[in-house]
């Protein structure tokens, strides 16, 4: 795993700077561990030390968008 995540504060950074915080599952999400984009929580451990939300395609590790976790719909 060596993709980049764009931190809203710090810009594009190596994934190793972040800690994975699990999938964001809402009531509409049919389930976890499905191929395709999923919403996730990431913590910028070696940067601004804030939580963000990211949408990542788990098939390609392409990060489609990021925002602060507060801004993400629960």
């Amino acid at each position: 795993m060596s993709f980049l995540l764009t931190c809203p504060n710090c810009g594009p950074r190596d994934v190793s700077e972040f800690r994975y915080g699990g999938q964001i599952l809402s009531s509409e999400t049919s389930g976890s561990n499905l191929p395709g984009p999923q919403r996730e929580r990431w913590f910028h451990r070696l940067g601004c030390r804030r939580w963000l939300a990211a949408e990542r395609d788990v098939r390609s590790n392409e990060v489609l968008r990021t925002c602060w976790l507060e801004q993400e719909a629960p």
Partner: protein
């Protein structure tokens, strides 16, 4: 030493002589020369013994690709001696041979090959089953390469270097140099990675009559400021997001590039004929590299074996190096070239059908083959030679490209990129392109297009990638039908043509299963020598096209990397020290690692320290505790939702034991929380979880969008715990805070000055005595510590360490999260059910805990008293609780408790046997030690000492 008859060797400095030892014998060399080159010049011909049959092996590729030259250098195993520079005083030794390379007792296996067929270890050693351990031990002892010296101290201090570039070019040959030059001229910043100590690639050793322009590129690049050239750097992996992993001697490089151009060239491979592994049989480029890079002639009289146009060119080059060419053997049918005036014969439609010699090549047997691959009658002849140069068609070195997601297609002659990948380019030999002009042109094109992709303005539009001419191949020639025994495909793992045929016949006919079964491709060279050959054999045997067979998956590392290099990231861990570190050090602290922290385990005798706390007063540095302040209108709401206990009803100036679970109801951490004001709380977390708890609070604060701020004071504040019956006396001497029992009760917090330092004082008692946990700004911690020590001198105050604290808390029956609990422990089973406030509408872990409560406990964390005396009871920690032969639980803490004169501990045992007075057994050092469940706490059950 350099051969004076040769042209100057480009990587060496002949005026700088040096010497190293090989098997105790001094070997002269010159600066820049490789170890193997110097050994070859000194007459060494056998460099290794093969993996399975212990056959003698000599130099083959002289490029660091194959495993024929692996040696032990200064204790480092498996060093590729053909490229490793010789250094003064080096100690070089052979590996995988006994007693010596020239005479290896295990060469016996070479005659036993009939009994060691492919997959023999899967077939032979199953029955009788009891013999397997013996077989395994023997096989492991015999097989394998170098030995790791467990005592050796790493001499290299490897560090990680992170690099960034718009364009990264891997490979400094003609295509790579051209690509770097073009991209830089277009305005991109470029990093060029080259394995050798000089740029040039094959131009350094191969004569070409084309493109003198390419030979000027190294000098032009030196003047191009936008190109950073990293020499002696080896790229070993290409990961997603264009992350290039590479190493230099003492550096692990992690290079992130927006565009990557791979120009890793192409390589030759061995031909197939019996004994094709004899020392003296080289890849043709290996002979040229040995001579032109390192100044050593590989032999006197050579036979050239080729399957393409490069053969006659090579013969001319050998002539220039003073190597007599006995014959050129061309596997292709005669392309009537006419009017040749070469001084050597060229035999078409011919093949070497055997190599002769015991430890070294003496002669080769050559024969004409008919179109079906059969040896034509009376066409065999023997040619005396000490060198056979195998000039095969180049195979693209495209491993990194495959890792990057590029796919290749075979056109019968070579592999060409079939699917492009954004941000990844292939140029030169790695893309299957032959001919210097075409390679340079392709490099320039890729360089320009990569620069354009990062936003550089090109003066003229980048040209399309050129169509390159496919080399003339005549595929009508069937492979020779010669003996398949001792005809090696894979030199690393001793896999023969016969082995592959047999494996395919057994049904392993896909290239991936063939690889796993025969271990072809799986040796140190990772298929660089054998990959293409195995694919072709598989295709022919199964009647499929090469494309349909495909190639095995390429994975990092492309070249062997030392584990120490890969571990460079982990070698430099930060250390955290409390503000009192120097004091502990000066007072004889024995250190304990607690996460990144260093904590004093004790200052000598933990039992003495325990007695001091129980009878007088002790002082411990607890600055490593997590310390957080949660402030804001929603602070109580946040804590109520995250923690198990209730916060909303906590009064200012009061404190509470607090614990929290994760979403699954697993105990995550514990600590103490106090209310400073209506919207302000102060909490502690355990040393190991300080940051995790802070992140956890931040996470839920953001998720629930609560109005609170969490300030992490872990480093900014220090803390020390003053505990013991005389703690109040000591504290009273240094503070104006009213510390009387009535004014400052148990579980209260007071803010005020202690020894002139603004402090928060919590009256809590982890160790089970009257105690004050005093928090202060870190900068003033030393002053406070000394003031309390001074004040406590008459009261018998003693500093104590973590070990004494562990004993004290065990006497009191307090659990330690992480020691007495693990990733399966919930608070109900751990005896914290009194803490869990199910009457709160919601908190983290409420639902799973409700389910657990309904189900009832299966395991319980209980206190026990040992029914027997054992030495070193701490070694019982982690031991199993057994019933007969069945494991039913485990011990998590055990210590001799000096206050109680007994050995006590905590253990997880089945809930049905957790009643006080029940017996259970602990399997300890081979015997079952009886233990009795005892009521908690063991010490001061009424808490009179604590609350008094």
């Amino acid at each position: 030493m350099n051969d004076p008859a040769l042209p100057p060797a480009v990587l060496t400095h002949p005026d700088q002589a040096l010497s190293f030892t090989f098997e105790g014998r001094p070997i002269p060399a010159v600066q820049g020369q490789s170890i193997a080159a110097a050994l070859y010049a000194a007459g060494v011909r056998i460099f290794t013994r093969s993996f399975k049959y212990h056959r003698p092996r000599g130099l083959l590729c002289v490029s660091g690709d194959c495993a024929n030259c692996l040696m032990q250098v200064d204790g480092r195993p498996n060093v590729r001696s053909c490229t490793e520079p010789a250094a003064e005083g080096q100690v070089v030794a052979h590996q995988n041979a006994w007693p010596s390379l020239d005479f290896d007792a295990l060469q016996l296996f070479d005659r036993l090959d009939r009994f060691l067929p492919v997959g023999f270890y899967y077939k032979r050693f199953h029955r009788p089953r009891w013999l397997w351990p013996l077989f395994e031990h023997t096989v492991r002892h015999i097989a394998g390469l170098g030995r790791v010296d467990a005592q050796a101290v790493p001499t290299l201090d490897v560090v990680v270097e992170h690099l960034n570039a718009s364009v990264c070019v891997i490979g400094g040959g003609p295509a790579g140099m051209a690509a770097a030059m073009e991209a830089a001229q277009a305005g991109a910043d470029v990093i060029l990675i080259e394995q050798q100590s000089r740029l040039g690639g094959h131009l350094l050793y191969a004569e070409t009559d084309e493109s003198t322009e390419a030979r000027r590129l190294p000098d032009q690049l030196a003047e191009q400021s936008r190109v950073r050239v990293l020499l002696r750097a080896t790229a070993f992996g290409l990961y997603e997001g264009n992350l290039v992993a590479a190493f230099r001697t003492d550096r692990l490089l992690k290079l992130r590039a927006r565009q990557v151009i791979v120009c890793t060239g192409a390589r030759q491979r061995p031909f197939l004929f019996p004994n094709n592994d004899l020392p003296g049989i080289f890849l043709a480029d290996g002979v040229l590299r040995l001579a032109r890079l390192y100044g050593v002639r590989a032999g006197r009289r050579a036979v050239v074996l080729t399957d393409h146009d490069g053969g006659s060119q090579l013969a001319e080059q050998l002539g220039a190096l003073g190597i007599e060419v006995a014959a050129v053997v061309d596997t292709r049918a005669g392309l009537d070239s006419g009017g040749k005036h070469d001084p050597w014969p060229t035999w078409h439609s011919s093949m070497v059908i055997a190599a002769r010699g015991s430890r070294q090549l003496k002669k080769v047997q050559v024969a004409r083959l008919d179109p079906a691959g059969r040896v034509e009658p009376h066409s065999e002849q023997e040619v005396a030679c000490d060198l056979l140069c195998m000039a095969s068609r180049p195979v693209p070195a495209n491993e990194l490209l495959l890792q990057g997601g590029m796919r290749f297609q075979s056109d019968g002659a070579t592999w060409r990129p079939a699917r492009s990948v954004a941000g990844l380019w292939a140029a030169g030999g790695a893309a299957g392109t032959v001919g210097l002009e075409a390679q340079v042109r392709e490099g320039r094109t890729c360089g320009a297009r990569a620069a354009a992709a990062v936003g550089c303005q090109l003066s003229e539009p980048a040209p399309e990638l050129p169509e390159t001419p496919v080399p003339t191949v005549r595929e009508d020639q069937a492979p020779p039908r010669v003996s398949r025994r001792k005809t090696f495909v894979c030199f690393c793992e001793d896999v023969t043509v016969k082995d592959l045929g047999q494996a395919i016949a057994e049904g392993f006919d896909g290239i991936e299963t063939l690889k796993r079964y025969t271990t072809v491709n799986m040796g140190p060279c990772q298929g660089k020598m054998c990959g293409q050959t195995a694919v072709e054999i598989c295709a022919r045997a199964t009647g499929r096209e090469i494309d349909a067979v495909g190639t095995t998956t390429s994975r990092p590392p492309v070249v062997p990397v030392e584990l120490g290099t890969l571990a460079a990231d982990r070698r430099h861990q930060p250390v955290r020290r409390t503000p009192l570190h120097h004091w502990h050090q000066e007072h004889g602290a024995r250190w304990l690692d607690a996460g990144l922290w260093k904590r004093p385990e004790s200052y000598g005798d933990p039992a003495d320290e325990v007695r001091a706390v129980r009878s007088a007063v002790g002082l411990i540095d607890v600055s490593t505790l997590g310390k957080m302040e949660v402030v804001g209108p929603d602070a109580a709401e946040l804590l109520d939702r995250v923690y198990l206990n209730r916060w909303a009803d906590l009064k200012p100036g009061r404190a509470r034991y607090a614990a929290l679970c994760n979403e699954e109801g697993i105990l995550f951490d514990d600590g103490v929380g106090a209310r400073l004001g209506p919207d302000r709380f102060y909490l502690t977390a355990t040393t190991g979880n300080a940051d995790a708890v802070w992140q956890w609070l931040e996470l839920w604060k953001a998720t629930w969008r609560l109005n609170a701020t969490i300030v992490n004071h872990t480093s900014g504040w220090s803390a020390m715990n003053l505990a013991g019956p005389r703690a109040r006396d000591v504290l009273a001497r240094r503070t104006q805070i009213d510390v009387s029992a009535a004014a400052f009760p148990y579980m209260a917090l007071r803010e005020g000055d202690v020894a002139g330092v603004p402090c928060r004082v919590l009256r809590i008692g982890f160790v089970g005595e009257l105690g004050y946990e005093i928090h202060c700004p870190s900068a003033l911690a030393w002053h406070l510590w000394e003031a309390l020590r001074e004040a406590g001198g008459e009261c018998g105050l003693r500093p104590f360490g973590v070990e004494a604290q562990r004993i004290l808390r065990l006497e009191k029956g307090h659990l330690i999260v992480g020691q007495d609990t693990d990733a399966l422990s919930n608070p109900l089973d751990a005896g914290l059910e009194w803490l869990v406030r199910f009457d709160k509408p919601t908190f983290m872990g409420r639902e799973p805990l409700l389910r657990l409560q309904a189900r009832g406990s299966r395991m319980r964390l209980v206190g026990f008293e040992l029914g027997a005396q054992v030495s070193a009871p701490a070694t019982m920690e982690g031991c199993q609780v057994v019933e007969g032969k069945v494991t039913v639980g485990r011990v998590t803490s055990a210590r001799h408790c000096p206050t109680l004169g007994k050995i006590h501990g905590l253990a997880w045992i089945p809930a049905g046997r957790a009643a006080v007075g029940q017996r259970f057994f602990v399997r300890w050092r081979g015997s079952d030690v009886p233990a009795i469940v005892a009521a908690l706490p063991f010490y001061d059950p009424d808490g009179k000492r604590l609350k008094g």
